[in-house]
């Protein structure tokens, strides 16, 4: 990554970027303008939020990608469940995970390339931070949580967000736990009368600083790699300290912010029925947490990479269907597999609808969000990482223009990560490694 402050893009780089791919790149001016406007407070303009929404096992070629007819998006059979929210969406088509001859590690290479800008050399080993954690760092400087992550599958391993090669963010797996974390003890409601900070919370901050006093001595006991691990531990401690700071200072809350009702207890696993239920309940909690400015970043997993989703009473899961189902002679595709794709799209439609139905500052929460949805593969049957299906939802506080089909022609998929980082105000001019290195952001997305 090149920080613009230190290494400005040359005119040639900009031009080269602008010429490559059908979706054109943009240079510096808007970037810098944007970097100044990503803040916002509850009292004035709502802040911008960004997050990811993941589903496993892609789509069926030819059935999902919309067409543009008379300037309007016409959805395919598999994207049809998104009909009622399509005006909020952009569809991104034709972006590839370029692996530079490295093996296509099934269900891993696509997501890892897209998220980190580096095609993984080894199975399951992320080689750098994923871009949305960099965005979370930028947007979440003052919020209680850097990011709010959950999976609707009940499995804490279903997460694709990495702070570094060795530190993966662990998602919440139940609505109850998510509620407790967001709105349980530690949630600082706007108080009536004079604000009195909790003396225990103040003492806790002091105790944590005593823990930190031993840092130097501990470092002396460790080798270089372990010192880095210790450093990460203290970074994590710092985030809890920030939560205590927020808890002990008077907070201004948006008028629309209120503590929602505690959810009940739900079974959480890959049973499709339970996934839909958990996802909906947790998405609503997330929406209110965003309104209350508890975080400006989120990561949602609807179904896992190599989706284990299954319908009750059936011996095969979505994953098994993708590999084992015969192509239907009449339909010309795998019929049951395709039903699972539609189920994933129903999930995304619900998510977008929840954000769109949450009022905020005269508009909707979705207006101030950018949700980036993607899968691990395009055609799961052959684990293809070309044309991985991706979408955005929302306007990112007026920065993004929705309702479009954005088509590229085998461009590096890292262009998306670059664009989103720039939209978040990060001064990044170039991102990715080797074949995924790009300085060409997607201007068509920008309002």
């Amino acid at each position: 990554m090149i920080l613009l402050g230190r290494n400005r893009l040359s005119r040639r780089t900009l031009l080269r970027g602008a010429m490559s791919g059908s979706a054109l790149s943009v240079g510096l001016p808007w970037l810098e303008a944007m970097a100044q406007t990503t803040g916002g407070s509850a009292a004035s303009q709502p802040p911008m939020r960004m997050g990811t929404w993941f589903w496993g096992l892609g789509v069926t070629p030819g059935l999902w990608t919309p067409e543009v007819v008379d300037g309007k998006l016409q959805l395919g059979p598999e994207s049809a469940p998104l009909e009622k929210v399509k005006s909020h969406l952009n569809f991104l088509s034709g972006f590839d995970a370029i692996l530079d001859g490295k093996a296509n590690h099934v269900h891993v290479s696509g997501t890892f390339s897209l998220r980190s800008g580096i095609a993984p050399t080894n199975f399951g080993v992320m080689e750098g931070p994923t871009f949305e954690t960099l965005i979370a760092e930028k947007l979440g400087g003052r919020t209680r949580f850097k990011t709010i992550d959950f999976t609707a599958t009940g499995n804490p391993r279903d997460a694709y967000s990495f702070r570094s090669a060795r530190v993966k963010n662990t998602p919440e797996t139940s609505a109850e736990a998510l509620y407790q974390r967001l709105f349980g003890a530690g949630f600082n409601e706007a108080s009536e009368g004079e604000f009195v900070p909790d003396p225990k919370a103040l003492r806790r901050m002091s105790v944590l600083s005593v823990v930190g006093d031993d840092r130097k001595a501990l470092e002396g006991r460790l080798g270089t790699e372990d010192r880095a691990r210790l450093d990460q531990y203290f970074t994590s401690v710092r985030e809890v300290e920030r939560q205590l700071e927020i808890q002990t200072t008077e907070q201004e809350m948006a008028a629309a912010c209120h503590v929602p009702e505690a959810p009940g207890s739900f079974e959480a696993n890959y049973n499709l029925k339970n996934v839909h239920q958990n996802h909906e309940v947790m998405a609503k909690l997330l929406a209110m947490a965003l309104v209350c400015d508890q975080s400006r970043s989120f990561n949602v997993v609807f179904s896992n990479s190599a989706s284990s989703l299954h319908r009750e009473g059936e011996a095969s899961s979505h994953h098994l269907y993708t590999h084992e189902e015969f192509t239907d002679a009449d339909a010309g595709y795998q019929v049951e597999t395709s039903k699972f794709v539609r189920q994933n799209m129903e999930g995304f439609a619900k998510f977008v609808e929840i954000l769109a139905d949450t009022p905020e500052a005269g508009g909707s929460l979705l207006d101030n969000c950018l949700v980036f949805a993607h899968s691990d593969t395009s055609w799961a049957k052959i684990h293809a990482v070309q044309d991985i299906p991706m979408m955005t939802a929302g306007r990112a506080s007026g920065r993004v223009k929705p309702g479009q089909l954005i088509s590229a022609n085998g461009d590096p998929i890292s262009r998306v990560g670059l664009t989103l980082q720039q939209l978040a105000g990060l001064p990044v001019g170039e991102w990715g490694e080797n074949g995924l290195k790009t300085s060409s952001s997607i201007s068509q997305m920008i309002a």
Binding site: N104, H105, V106, N122, F123, G124, V125, K146, G154, N155, P156, R157, V167, N169, T170, P171, P199, K200, L202, R203, S206, V207, L208, V210, V211, D213, L218, G220, R221, L222, G223, T224, E225, D226, R229, L230, Q232, Y233, F234, T235, S236, V237, E239, V240, Q243, N269, Y270, N271, S305, S308, H310, E314, A315, S316, H319, E324, F326, T327, I382, H383
Partner: protein, 563 residues
């Protein structure tokens, strides 16, 4: 197929370093024809404690009625073991939030009226002023256990000042002590086991401190913190004396806590944490409820500790033993009557029952299956990777799966018929020929381990071959496995990695060879293998922290290249 683990290759240096200039070294035999060689020692380690280590530690330090309710960040499996992942991972912010919340609930219990007297040498009061004597004496005991070594004077002063300030601010001495305990429980010294070194009086290098030695032994053999006797040997430094160390090791091996330690190893060795995420379709397998799942995991652990720790059976007997234990929920899966309504009772598979050994246990076959059906492939991979330490390459990406499985197709009714079709694809063939035969031998068990003779009306054929051993039936296959030299070697390899928390480097390969030779010679008994590990100098070897691993590996490799 997707495998939710990361396989990170660690350096396996098969290098014999002959003359390294090192500050601390151990003499090792066996590398390069038995010459005595000097070997670079590994740097100190920092291992994240596992959930079970956390739970056992809290129970042993504060009493086993202390509730630990919470959620833990799990270490990824690296090289087949979470014990290695624990040496490589750190704590994410959401992970630390949870450890901090756990620390809070545990410390609140520790300073509650009913438990206060266990740790603090004074009377409890909800609203009491700072008591310097009580704080000093109580803190010394708690800190030595939580921080895994005695506090320095400077640390003590800081913590006491903190308790005093909190007492004043909160108007409660007990609450103030609670916050200090909370801080220590959230400290890196407690959440990680961090090696502590000191100058070695026998040279100019360093050695593990006696406290670090005590913790290394205790976490390895008991999966928890040292007991009072071991701590006393650390405190007076007598643990540095080889005779005393040996006596302590023997005491620990004879203790009932060895079962706890062995279970922790089996959990990691056989990936039993996967049971936490195991899901079966309720409509297809109504008998496999949560209790059955919990008991299936427990049964495997009880079977293994009974055979290998209590009876000290030779390791390969776990593939043929007929005696195990059973509970009522499992009776449903095994289709046998169980008289005890609660708990466990001894159970023996009948002579003419094809079931015997670990692989016939419902836990093994259920864990390595899909939610709605069995999987010869997943089971084959499990036997190959977990029990034989063999590597199965992930499926190639560009496989054309049009030759498919369809359980309703009248031509392909059994898993064997379907997989045979799958193997007609060249890209799949070599791998599946390696994986499937051993998995197909287990096809008599459905997706939750219930015995069946046929699948979709067609008889199940269990014959095949395992690395040259031909077999017809499941008992034959398990006998082949028992004779396979790979199983014993794999156990030694995993025990050594588990003890080290990393892949062996340099001369540690020679150490493994020595352990393996010894293991075979002494009747392949697990307790004697554990003893050999813990009494090896290599188990405690440590180098200067400021020289990092990669530099050390590079120096070993360079020297090896020159020789």
């Amino acid at each position: 197929m997707m495998r939710g683990k990361s396989f990170i290759g660690s350096l396996n240096l098969r290098v014999c370093a002959s003359a390294l200039l090192v500050s601390s070294s151990v003499a090792l035999a066996g590398c390069g024809g038995g010459d005595k060689v000097a070997m670079e020692t590994p740097p100190p380690q920092m291992r994240l404690i596992s959930e079970s280590q956390y739970r056992h530690s809290i129970a042993d330090i504060f009493g086993d009625d202390t509730k630990v309710v919470g959620w833990f960040e799990e270490a990824p499996e690296v090289g087949g073991l979470a014990a290695i992942g624990a040496s490589e991972m750190s704590v994410s912010s959401s992970g630390f939030e949870r450890y901090y919340a756990l620390a809070s609930t545990v410390s609140e219990q520790v300073v509650s009226e009913e438990r206060w007297g266990r740790t603090m040498p004074c009377d409890w009061a909800l609203e009491g002023a700072y008591d310097a004597d009580c704080a000093t004496n109580g803190l010394a005991v708690v800190a030595e256990r939580l921080l895994r070594r005695p506090m320095s004077d400077e640390q003590r002063t800081r913590w006491l000042a903190e308790i005093e300030a909190s007492s004043l601010a909160l108007g409660s001495f007990s609450k103030a002590v609670g916050l200090a305990v909370e801080g220590m429980l959230a400290s890196p010294e407690f959440l990680f086991v961090i090696d502590d070194t000191e100058p070695d009086p026998k040279g100019d290098g360093v050695r593990l401190s006696a406290f670090a030695k005590a913790h290394r032994m205790s976490f390895f053999l008991w999966n928890t913190v040292p007991d009072d006797e071991l701590l006393a040997a650390a405190r007076d430094g007598s643990l540095h004396n080889k005779k005393i160390l040996k006596a302590q090791a023997e005491r620990m091996l004879a203790s009932e806590h060895l079962t706890t330690g062995a279970e922790a190893f089996f959990e990691d060795f056989l990936d039993l944490n996967e049971f936490d995420l195991l899901e079966k379709d309720k409509v297809i397998y109504p008998a496999f409820n949560k209790r059955a799942s919990v008991d299936a995991r427990e049964q495997m652990l009880k079977f293994l500790t009974m055979q290998l720790i209590e009876k000290e059976a030779a390791y390969p007997e776990i593939f043929t033993a007929k005696d195990t234990v059973i509970s009522r929920p499992l009776g449903m899966l095994y289709r046998v009557p169980v008289s005890s309504p609660d708990g466990w009772e001894p159970f023996e598979f009948a002579e003419d029952d094809p079931r015997a050994g670990l692989l016939s246990h419902a836990g093994f076959t259920a864990l390595h299956s899909h939610p709605g059906r069995s999987s010869a492939t997943l089971r084959g991979i499990a036997v190959r990777e977990l029990l034989l330490c063999q590597t199965v390459e992930p499926a190639p990406a560009a496989v054309n799966f049009t030759v498919v499985q369809d359980t309703e197709n009248p031509e392909f009714r059994t898993a064997r018929e379907r997989l045979t079709q799958h193997r007609t694809d060249d890209a799949c063939k070599s791998c599946h020929e390696f994986i499937d035969p051993v998995g197909l031998a287990l096809e008599n068990f459905d997706g939750v381990g219930t015995f069946r003779d046929d699948e979709n009306g067609a008889p199940i054929d269990t014959s095949g071959d395992l690395d040259g051993y031909l077999f017809e039936t499941l008992p034959d296959m398990q006998k082949s496995l028992a004779q396979h030299p790979g199983v014993g070697a794999c156990l030694v390899e995993k025990v050594q990695k588990y003890a080290l928390g990393r892949a062996p480097q340099g001369g540690e390969i020679a150490w493994r060879n020595r352990l393996e030779k010894n293991f075979t010679k002494k009747g392949q008994q697990l307790p004697s293998l554990l003893k050999a590990v813990v009494l090896s100098d290599e188990f405690f070897a440590v180098g200067d922290p400021q020289m990092d691993v990669s530099a050390q590996e590079a120096s070993v490799a360079n020297e090896g290249g020159k020789s």
